[in-house]
């Protein structure tokens, strides 16, 4: 019995050590790859991308549905067409970034070795993530299931990347000082508290406005109306509304959750 317990402990320790090593490899690897992103659910979308990834930086060239480049460098983001890149006020996070973030915040729920590859499961408030990582620490597939929407990132070809960020950045004309996208700071602050959003245009009276339907990280539904003139926003029963005015724009935040509204009010008053 004692020998069996010691053997089990040794095996558990070895598996844990091995898992740790491939996770470390995954987090510290630099690679270049081609990947396909698909989202299935209420709405379907797909992207084909080339990705250059370093432990802290990333350059992604979206090939389809439109040609676009975005990059993460030293904590800031740029996005745009090849010769018109601008600093993005919002973070741009792909499924891999979200998986790593949730893995660090929530921790790994389950790890298993399947056909020589590692399957890592992270059950987080932002969804159920499943990643397949090979023994070299390169990702092969990352899946997230969240509120009936399945997002899948499939790597078709991953190779080690020896070039530095600056080498690839110069190839795509990514420079340090780019102009910033004109974007209301209030919306930026609010969107940092949500896990995903949808966006649509609609008319209120004569005015064209933007409606952002977002899922707050607490789970509550949040509606944000952005207009360039004051508009009469109708709310449903039990919904509370917060209005804030900027220079030449009006923002209406609507939710049923009093606590969320209080948090957002505090956030905007800072």
């Amino acid at each position: 019995m004692r020998k069996t317990l010691i053997l089990v402990c040794i095996i558990a320790f070895t598996v844990a050590a091995l898992c740790q090593s491939f996770i470390d490899l995954f987090l510290t690897n630099s690679y270049f790859g081609r990947r396909v992103v698909t989202e299935r659910g209420a709405s379907n979308k797909s992207r084909i991308e080339l990705v250059y990834r370093w432990p802290e930086d990333k350059i992604v060239q979206v090939l389809s549905p439109l040609v676009l480049i975005w990059a993460k460098h030293s904590g800031s983001f740029v996005m745009g067409e090849p010769n018109n890149l601008r600093v993005s006020p919002l973070e741009i996070l792909d499924l891999e970034d979200l998986f790593i973030r949730q893995m660090k915040q929530t921790g790994i729920s389950k790890t298993e070795k399947v056909d020589g590859k590692y399957k890592v499961v992270v059950d987080s408030p932002s969804g159920l993530f499943t990643a397949i990582i090979n023994e070299k620490g390169y990702p092969e597939r990352i899946t997230r299931v969240f509120q009936g929407v399945t997002t899948e990132l499939v790597y078709e070809d991953v190779q080690p990347l020896s070039q530095k960020f600056e080498d690839i950045a110069s190839k795509y004309n990514i420079r340090a000082s780019e102009t910033t996208v004109n974007f209301p700071n209030e919306i930026k602050e609010i969107l940092q508290t949500v896990s995903w959003y949808t966006i649509s245009r609609l008319r209120i009276g004569e005015e064209q406005v933007i409606l952002i339907m977002a899922n707050h990280k607490s789970g509550s539904i949040l509606k944000i109306v952005y207009a360039s003139k004051q508009v009469n926003v109708n709310t449903e029963q039990n919904e509370k509304m917060l209005q804030c005015n900027g220079q030449g724009y009006f923002i209406y935040i609507i939710t049923q959750d009093d606590e969320v509204l209080r948090q957002i009010k505090q956030l905007l008053e800072k």
Partner: protein
């Protein structure tokens, strides 16, 4: 010419009789020269000539003044148009509409290339 006697004669110290023939001739020449110079300096142009000359000068001065005034008026108009008059263009509804579109386009792009927050 005896210069010393010439000067003394002009100063009234000696008479004309005391001068030699050559100096007398020079005194005569000198007197004539002085008369010509006096006539020249005492010259006063006729009213017609004066008016003709002065009108040319006045025309030049007037032209310069007119050019100066015109330039000042143009400069003042530029200043008024670009600094004083209210500029209405930036606050038209069209400009604000662009802002709404910009927010929409940017959020749509972030949603397209990103997978959430």
């Amino acid at each position: 010419m005896n210069e010393e006697n010439f000067q003394k004669f002009l100063d009234g110290e000696i008479g004309k009789d005391e001068l030699d023939q050559e100096t007398k001739q020079d005194v005569k020449t000198y007197t004539l020269t002085m008369q010509v110079m006096k006539a020249r300096y005492d010259y006063k142009p006729s009213a017609v000539l004066e008016e003709r000359v002065m009108s040319k000068v006045r025309k030049k001065r007037e032209l310069f003044s007119e050019l100066l005034i015109a330039a000042s008026v143009v400069a003042a108009l530029f200043f008024i148009v670009f600094n004083v008059m209210p500029v209405k263009i930036p606050v038209t509804a069209k400009t604000q509409q662009v802002s709404v579109s910009e927010v929409f386009d940017y959020l749509s792009l972030v949603k397209l290339v990103g997978d959430g927050f």
